[in-house]
Symmetry: C2
Subunit: 197 residues, 2 copies
């Protein structure tokens, strides 16, 4: 999102996190802007029974946990390293100054928030239809279009059935069966368990 060199100039610091390490918790107060440099981070809500709902999977270059910077409320979800990762953090006040000094960057952030909202609009309306085939194929199509969680060379989806389940509120078995059905209908391909679309 923001150029790493620029972040460093403004005093940002790198941080290494191990797989499954919690970067921040839902409900906690925030004082940093976070951006992923290397690895993968999932942004999740965990309910009382410990079940995770994945709001977004963050890939290198993307920011995360930005809500509190704009509205002063606590984190809306927890960020957990999905694999060993490197993140870069910038102090909240510095981030604000950076936006004030760079109106274009502020517009870029408005665009980012808008795109995240669009994704939520899309997923929400599909989930409301209670049709697994629709939900899953819409999700995969979105990933293909935005080149997220997908190999840009071979179109292999870099997500397990469990992760797709955790993004849609479905169960693994349902996701597995639905993806099989989508293959039968010729809407995607499965090779050694991996999904290509």
């Amino acid at each position: 999102m923001i150029d790493v060199d620029m972040l460093l100039t403004w005093g940002a610091a790198y941080k290494k996190v191990q797989k499954e390490e919690i970067i921040f918790n839902e409900g906690a107060q925030s004082s940093f802007y976070y951006q992923l440099v290397e690895g993968r981070v999932r942004w999740v809500n965990i309910n009382e029974e410990g079940k995770e709902f994945i709001q977004t999977i963050i890939e290198p270059g993307e920011c995360f946990g930005e809500f509190p910077l704009f509205d002063d409320e606590p984190f809306a979800a927890s960020a957990i390293a999905d694999e060993d990762s490197v993140i870069i953090r910038l102090h909240r006040s510095t981030f604000h100054q950076l936006l004030k000094d760079n109106p274009d960057l502020h517009f870029a952030f408005s665009k980012l928030l808008t795109q995240r909202l669009r994704f939520k609009f899309l997923i929400l309306k599909e989930l409301a239809r209670h049709n697994p085939e629709n939900s899953i194929s819409t999700l995969l199509q979105y990933f293909k279009q935005t080149k997220k969680n997908i190999c840009t060379k071979c179109n292999k989806i870099n997500l397990t059935r469990q992760q797709i389940a955790d993004m849609t509120g479905l169960r693994v078995e349902t996701v597995i069966r639905t993806i099989r059905n989508l293959q039968t209908k010729g809407l995607l391909k499965i090779n050694k368990g991996k999904v290509y679309c």
Copy 2:
């Protein structure tokens, strides 16, 4: 959102719309900033079978259809007048200039986008649990906290069971039965069919 006098100074124009009149359609290109002055507007996705999914119900003072202004994509949902309403429109380019001239206003919009995202995060994680009681009580609690779609004096929810159904992807009968159950549990009150919480 933006002060009406300020909007008028910058050349905005009023427009009256009748109940059920379509203000803009999902997928169409946009050239305006929209704000509701009087009445009520629902922001909806309509699927192939004609079933509506209500993304948000807009109340006086709120803006709507702002996504295209920030990311140049088409409307993500249609806006329909829920009752006879008065809206005010400002040209896209003027809106941009207004934000550039007023950094504080731009920050206020970032906050608005963030709050809308938080709402989507909240609803999405609840819907994913497939538990009508949870979904509905979370939704009503949110409306109570944010003073939306509720009478601030008597806590009467200004939504029909059908509208709650269209916001959660449930069916009217399920919403009716669930709200009854919530009353039995003492979580809300029903008087002559109206919900108080």
